[in-house]
């Protein structure tokens, strides 16, 4: 039986409102709302908008912690509204504000442009330098489970921007690349198929790069996907130092190309059994 049959509890929502067309500064508005067990902050906001405040704005999409759109500052912590249950917060008053360390577009909508720009700056894709192989692939790249494990957790990033909102360094130094971009820089440089360290160095080996991290660890605490960006930054530092003294990871990518004929053979070998129905 669903917990939604439980008696609803009345909760006060303190929501920070801001309309750039009419307001000169943000202000707080309070709404009282019945909340049942299992109800998320996002559901509560939808109900609030439907029943009390139709002009309230926020950004959301998937409702299942995948798209990373609904990051908000809930009870003074950056969290995904769709993953945060109101009654689990344990307070009778729930404060909801837009994510800090970003400009405020309207109400609970942060301007995530800096997050995207920093992410793009570190070239978040596999860079392969053999143009002949790119133009005329002779096979597929092999990657062992161990090689994948080296960066696996960092692939879970959904670019919600909670880590940047939690980061005390971003608060004082807006030019700091931040935990998201730096962890992704590590994710790609640690990938055995990537040869992009030299191209990325220009973007990451700068004053506002990994060495600005104060290692508060707030990013790792805030991440809703269990990624540990603070650890990623430390790994990136190690990779950069080793690279700077000539002990960087040597990659022999061509040796790891699996010829297409072998790929076909492997597919046949590991093909599922024929259907019986």
């Amino acid at each position: 039986m669903s917990d939604k049959t439980n008696t609803p509890r009345e909760i006060t929502f303190r929501v920070r409102r801001f309309d750039p067309d009419t307001d000169s500064a943000p202000h707080w508005s309070e709404y009282r709302q019945h909340v049942h067990d299992g109800m998320t902050v996002l559901e509560a906001l939808h109900q609030l908008k439907a029943e009390q405040e139709p002009t309230l704005s926020w950004r959301s999409s998937c409702r299942m912690g995948v798209c990373g759109s609904c990051g908000m500052f809930i009870n003074e912590l950056p969290q995904l509204a769709c993953q945060t249950q109101v009654l689990h917060l344990g307070t009778d008053v729930v404060s909801i504000a837009p994510l800090p360390n970003y400009d405020n577009v309207k109400d609970l909508v942060p301007d995530l442009a800096p997050l995207i720009e920093k992410h793009a700056a570190i070239k978040p894709y596999i860079i392969y330098t053999d143009q002949i192989e790119i133009d005329s692939p002779t096979g597929e790249f092999l990657q062992t489970p161990e090689e994948r494990e080296a960066f696996s957790q960092f692939t879970h990033c959904i670019k919600c921007g909670l880590c940047l909102a939690a980061c005390p360094t971003v608060a004082t130094d807006p030019l700091f690349l931040g935990p998201q971009a730096l962890a992704q820089a590590y994710r790609y440089t640690a990938d055995n198929r990537d040869c992009g360290m030299k191209e990325r160095i220009e973007a990451i080996d700068i004053f506002h790069g990994p060495y600005q991290c104060h290692f508060a660890g707030a990013c790792s605490q805030a991440c809703p996907k269990g990624v540990d960006p603070a650890f990623g930054i430390q790994l990136l530092k190690r990779a950069l130092v080793l690279d700077s003294i000539g002990f960087g990871k040597k990659k022999s990518l061509l040796a790891k190309v699996m010829p297409l004929a072998d790929v076909v053979k492997a597919i046949e070998e590991f093909a599922p059994p024929p259907r019986t129905v």
Binding site: D173, P174, Y211, Q212, L240, S244
Partner: protein
């Protein structure tokens, strides 16, 4: 220069500072323990000049000056540049720190060299 190199050097000088500062403390502050002379005797003008004329002292203090200056000014640059919001101001901070460092190093090195080449009574 790549930030990695600047950062690595700032870490590498830490053990150098620890060793040289230890030597400085042993000579200047713990002379009764290590050399069996009183603090007053270790710090009087003649003793200091005498000590300053040794090559070991010259090398120790110039190295300590360089290492401590680099480490300290790298930290100061970090604090200042974290407050700096434009790349242009960042470059000004970098240049000022380099000039300040060179000035202090030149001053310190001159004093150390002056002591090294000082002739009592001459």
């Amino acid at each position: 220069m790549r930030e990695t190199r600047l950062w690595s050097v700032h870490l590498l000088v830490i053990p150098i500072i620890v060793v040289l500062l230890g030597a400085h403390f042993a000579v200047m502050h713990y002379a009764p323990v290590f050399y069996g002379v009183s603090i007053e005797e270790a710090r009087n003008f003649e003793t200091m000049i005498e000590r300053g004329r040794s090559v070991a002292q010259l090398v120790l203090y110039i190295l300590l000056l360089a290492a401590a200056l680099y480490h300290g000014l790298y930290g100061l640059r970090g604090i200042l540049r974290e407050l700096t919001l434009t790349p242009g101001l960042g470059k000004i901070v970098d240049t000022s720190i380099i000039l300040l460092g060179l000035f202090i190093f030149a001053l310190g090195a001159y004093v150390t060299w002056w002591t090294f080449s000082f002739k009592i009574g001459g």
